[in-house]
């Protein structure tokens, strides 16, 4: 008789050790308390398919899932009494901050504590931030090392603020009534409470954030020079080939040249939940508890560990206990947001009590990360055969007051500068500069919206100038598999741009555009049609991903992932993609699993080698919605496959009495494993799980993958034989609870990509816009929108279309109405809200899903996967070419090129009624 090894649940540890300057600290990640996530088998009709969002029930019934929902009283083991933090924000950079004057507050409104920057420990005021972004310059700039923040979180008295909205003081209130009353009295009256020197302060020199980017590509006359192709002599030869491009232009005066300029205002991500969190420093065991809704738990925790991890830390830390919540929207605005640092900073002054920091919408506008304002100019040269020969572009991004990710956003903009076209000669420079404005972040598109606007409007202008068909011009220049990007990076992925343009070309919104225009004109309306395309990259130049899949004794499947679901549906997708492997979708999923990587047994220290089975190039990175479809899904599926091989297959062989059983001899049918050769009874998944526990089999698999143009792959000993998996790390936990135990990999094959390529995978999109413009008011209405999207394999169609629809709406706002001025005329003043920042409403978006003449419509055309087995990250791809499509449609309608975003009614009126 086989002994019963006991156990019921397959546990995945939520703890890990972090290194700090003072040694190490224990990080524990907790699940959201009392979240009501239903058993997935009630929601999913078929394994591999989603019937509803896995987080849907909790959200549609108003349960506590967002950080803002929680107070100390909701957290088990916390003191119920909490304090309230408020940061006062700088209103000028021209005068030194002296102090606060709170004499206008009543005694019962006063904070119990005021803390100025100069009273804080240096690591609190200016913590070192780990630059964990893996981007293009990884190979030549060692920016993964800690970099000092360029500017303090909180201004020191006697110093001029570095940027508007920088904190000048921290106020701690003992009670909610005091906080509410003081806030009400002080809001919109900063100058009454902040004291600055009257004399002007010396102004700093201009700062350009490092690194800057310049791509020179020369592919002509039998010579091929680029950043990716010339790793050894690129810096030396860059100016030589830049001169060669200029010489080519001089020698070819017949080329059609088009000079272009564009500028874009800052945009607020305007995620619906203003940032909020609670923190409690438990002095007795040196434990900092945090409840946060964040897009980048890894970076947030590292930043906090830098803040308090030094040997002379004012807040000695042995533990961080993080409860990551579902973010109420993100769009990149919660990626590397300083909010988590500000909350941790406030926690130090709670005197043992939990501290809550909650921005309202005014403060969120005032300090929340923005999409960068940008000014760009360039020249596009095309020959008479409609072939692009040269593109020169210079982009300057307003990085605002803190570096954040700004230079890397500029870098990706440079990579997008050639659009979806093969441009043989290019000279592109991009940089981000410091300013007094609100810092920019990694908002949706990451430099793409600015660059695609430039190239797509320039192409349209050339087509109009020459009387060329804009689609034919594009078809003549599209990039394809085997071509190279502006960095010289090889494109090894099928793009299908021609097919996509042909879809757009035959769509009635384009094919019948003249008739539609005439029809509107007959009704006294001015109509125009515009088209633009893009191929937005997803992922970075090297992505590490980790996930765990486990199976309980009763067959319940659990998935844990380092991804964060900002609403894009990652949790739902990752819960269903295990179904085909395990006969059942995941019953629960834990996102933001920052503790997973350290349990793999892998190290990602710099200088390692793939020949070391304990090394990988990168553990995990910040969570991005676009990483789900390919990267996260892949590792979850590989883990599920390994769990099938380790936990299911041996039990089936045993029960069926087979000496050997291969995975391709089996198939899941309605939750039962069937033996394809026949003659054996189907085995219910729950029975196999029970057998697995009874025999002490594997209950959980932890997997890590690294993607850089392809996945690192290796052989792993599974069931006594070497099995090839597209993973670089595997660890297993037994039903007895032992583990996770690393499984030593062999015969590792490194990924194929060249890090200098920058990006390897792309999600192309074509946007077609038909609009009317009211010449009197300048108001634009989107009448028809068509998006043709190559999303690869679609795992959950409803999520993909929802993302596309949301991307379109957000892009309409970016293009037409979302207008944030710089300086104190803008949100830095603290008095901006949705009454003056106009995001799209219901009426601004066509809602009908099929086209019929005279009726507003929005169509999404998804290319059939045609054998493509992996999904593409589409979160950003739809939106990046909407703005140029709208500008192109306005040009068609009015004969005027609008190059300044947003294209507000005032700008339109000024152009057509000067």
């Amino acid at each position: 008789m086989t002994p019963d090894f006991g156990g019921q649940r397959a546990e995945i540890s939520r703890r890990t050790l972090l290194k700090t300057g003072a040694g190490s600290l224990l990080l524990t990640v907790l699940a959201i308390p009392d979240i009501a996530i239903p058993a997935t088998h009630e929601l999913q009709e078929l394994a591999g398919q989603a019937k509803r969002r896995i987080d849907g029930l909790a959200k549609v019934t108003g349960q506590k899932v967002y950080a803002r929902d929680f107070n100390a009283r909701d957290m088990a083991g916390w003191p119920s009494q909490q304090k309230f933090a408020m940061f006062m924000r700088a209103t000028t950079t021209e005068h030194a901050f002296r102090e606060l004057d709170l004499s206008d507050l009543r005694k019962d409104e006063l904070p119990e504590r005021i803390v100025y920057g100069d009273q804080m420990h240096k690591t609190q005021r200016a913590p070192l931030i780990m630059g964990r972004r893996d981007l293009l310059l990884d190979s030549r700039d060692d920016f993964d090392q800690p970099k000092g923040m360029l500017y303090d979180l909180v201004v020191k008295r006697g110093h001029a603020p570095d940027f508007l909205g920088q904190a000048v003081a921290l106020l701690i209130f003992a009670s909610k009534p005091a906080y509410d009353s003081a806030r009400k009295k002080m809001q919109f009256r900063d100058s009454d409470f902040q004291v600055y020197d009257s004399a002007p302060a010396p102004q700093p020199d201009a700062v350009t954030y490092s690194p800057t980017t310049r791509f020179v590509r020369y592919d002509a006359d039998g010579q091929a020079f680029s950043y990716a192709q010339n790793p050894d002599d690129y810096d030396e030869l860059e100016p030589v080939f830049a001169d060669a491009i200029d010489l080519y232009l001089d020698e070819n005066p017949q080329l059609i040249r088009h000079d272009y300029t564009s500028d874009m205002r800052t945009m607020d991500p305007m995620f619906m939940e203003p940032e909020s969190g609670i923190a409690w420093y438990e002095r007795d065991n040196r434990n900092l508890h945090l409840v946060l809704g964040t897009q980048s738990p890894d970076g947030d925790v590292l930043g906090i560990s830098q803040m308090y991890g030094s040997t002379d830390s004012p807040l000695p830390l042995s533990n961080i206990t993080l409860t990551p919540c579902y973010p109420g929207g993100g769009f990149g605005g919660r990626d590397s947001s300083p909010f988590s640092l500000m909350l941790a900073l406030a926690a130090a002054y709670g005197d043992g009590a939990p501290v809550r920091l909650s921005y309202d919408r005014f403060e969120q506008f005032r300090v929340g990360l923005k999409r960068h304002a940008c000014a760009l100019s360039g020249m596009l040269a095309v020959d008479a055969d409609q072939k692009i020969r040269v593109n020169k572009m210079q982009l300057e991004f307003d990085g605002g007051g803190r570096k954040n990710l700004s230079p890397y956003v500029a870098q990706l903009a440079a990579l997008c500068s050639s659009g979806a076209y093969d441009v043989p000669m290019a000279d592109v420079a991009a940089k981000a500069v410091h300013s007094i404005n609100i810092p920019g972040g990694s908002q949706r598109g990451f430099g793409g919206p600015q660059a695609y606007f430039a190239i797509e409007t320039a192409l349209d202008d050339i087509a109009a100038q020459m009387g060329w068909d804009p689609i034919a011009l594009r078809l003549n220049n599209i990039v394809d598999q085997g071509d190279r990007t502006v960095s010289g990076g090889a494109i090894n992925q099928s793009l299908r741009l021609k097919e996509m343009l042909q879809h757009a070309q035959t769509n009635p919104v384009w094919a019948d555009r003249a008739a539609i225009k005439a029809d509107y004109a007959a009704r006294g309306l001015t109509y125009g049609t515009g088209l633009a395309m893009s191929m937005q990259a997803y992922g970075t130049s090297g992505d590490g991903v980790v996930a765990a899949v486990s199976m309980d004794r009763d067959g319940v499947i659990r998935v844990a992932s380092d991804a964060v679901d900002m609403g894009n549906g990652s949790a739902t997708t990752l819960s269903v993609v295990v179904g085909p492997y395990l006969g059942r979708n995941a019953d629960s999923i834990e996102m933001g699993g920052y503790t997973l990587f350290t349990q793999t047994g892998l190290s990602d220290e710099k200088g390692g080698s793939w020949s070391d089975p304990g090394w990988t190039a990168k553990g995990v990175g910040s969570s991005s919605a676009c990483l789900t479809a390919l990267h996260q899904v892949h590792v979850v599926q590989q883990a599920a496959r390994a769990l099938f091989l380790l936990a299911i297959l041996p039990q089936a062989a045993e029960i069926w009495g087979l000496d050997s059983l291969e995975e391709d001899q089996t198939k899941w049918v309605d939750g039962q494993l069937t033996y394809l050769p026949g003659g054996k009874p189907p085995l219910p998944q729950a029975d196999l799980a029970e057998a697995n526990f009874t025999r002490g089999g594997t209950s959980s698999v932890l997997a890590h993958g690294f993607y850089q143009g392809s996945w690192t792959s290796a052989d792993f000993p599974i069931n006594g034989t070497l099995t090839r998996l597209e993973l670089d790390g595997l660890a297993v936990t037994s039903a007895l609870g032992f583990g996770p135990t690393p499984v030593r990999r062999r015969n590792t094959v490194a990924p194929a990509g060249n890090p200098r390529d920058g990006r390897y995978v792309w999600a192309p999109a074509v946007n077609l816009i038909g609009l009317t413009v009211d010449k009197t008011s300048g108001r634009v209405q989107i009448e028809n929108a068509v998006t043709v999207l190559n999303a690869g394999k679609v795992h959950v169609p409803e999520l993909v279309s929802g993302q596309a629809q949301g991307g379109l709406a957000m892009a309409i706002g970016y293009t037409l109405s979302e207008d944030l001025p710089p300086g104190m005329d803008g949100p830095a003043s603290g008095n901006w809200n949705l009454n003056r920042y106009h995001v799209p409403h219901f009426a601004d978006v066509p809602l009908n899903q099929s086209y019929s003449a005279g009726r507003r419509s929005q169509q999404l055309v998804l290319l059939p996967a045609d054998g493509e087995t992996t999904g593409r990250g589409i979160a950003e791809s739809v939106m990046v070419s909407v703005a140029p499509a709208i500008s192109n449609a306005l040009r068609d309608a009015l004969g005027v090129r609008f190059q300044s975003l947003p294209i507000t009614p005032a700008k339109i009126k000024a152009e057509i009624n000067p």
Partner: protein, 170 residues
């Protein structure tokens, strides 16, 4: 002096010094009902919408909790998102929003649910033609802001439930 209001079927006694407290703050701070969301705080986005029925009024109305002082709600019967599902049974619109993947981050969802509930309770007894539904739905939820979805799936889900309601009428 004191006054009462009823939230999700439970009547609460309040003192006059609470008259100026905003309904949203009362729900969050006093009742720990955080399903009603703060987004803009100035009544533009409507994420904080709750259903309020006053006195003898036949129908409930959508009310912006972030900007409504308790003094204006004396004696009112308030339903928040936490009070929509009965004994764990979702309402028709909650089910439709789930089945249609209507929301993403979900932060605006309680406001959409409550506005839709108010609309549907009116529609149940209104004399309305199916052709008028699109305009009525825009009137009901058109001022609500959603940043994730582009509104398409919200509109589809509400249209489906509303149409089924009309078709079920004798």
């Amino acid at each position: 002096m004191s006054f009462t209001l009823t939230i999700n079927g439970t009547t609460h006694q309040l003192e006059d010094d609470q008259s100026t407290v905003k309904l949203l703050d009362y729900l969050h701070d006093t009742r720990n009902l955080t399903g009603t969301k703060l987004c803009c705080g100035i009544g533009v986005c409507r994420a904080c919408t709750v259903s309020v029925q006053k006195g003898p009024n036949r129908f409930a109305e959508p009310v912006i909790a972030c900007s409504t002082p308790l003094a204006t709600l004396k004696g009112a019967r308030i339903t928040t998102i936490e009070g929509v599902a009965v004994d764990g049974n979702l309402s028709a619109i909650q089910t439709a929003f789930l089945d249609n993947f209507a929301f993403q981050c979900g932060y605006c969802t309680p406001g959409f649910v409550m506005a839709a509930e108010v609309f549907l309770s009116w529609l149940a007894v209104a004399d309305v033609a199916a052709d008028d539904l699109d305009a009525l739905i825009e009137n009901a939820i058109g001022d609500h802001i959603c940043r994730c979805t582009g509104y398409v799936r919200y509109a589809q889900a509400l249209h489906k439930v509303a149409l089924e309601m009309l078709e079920a009428k004798p």
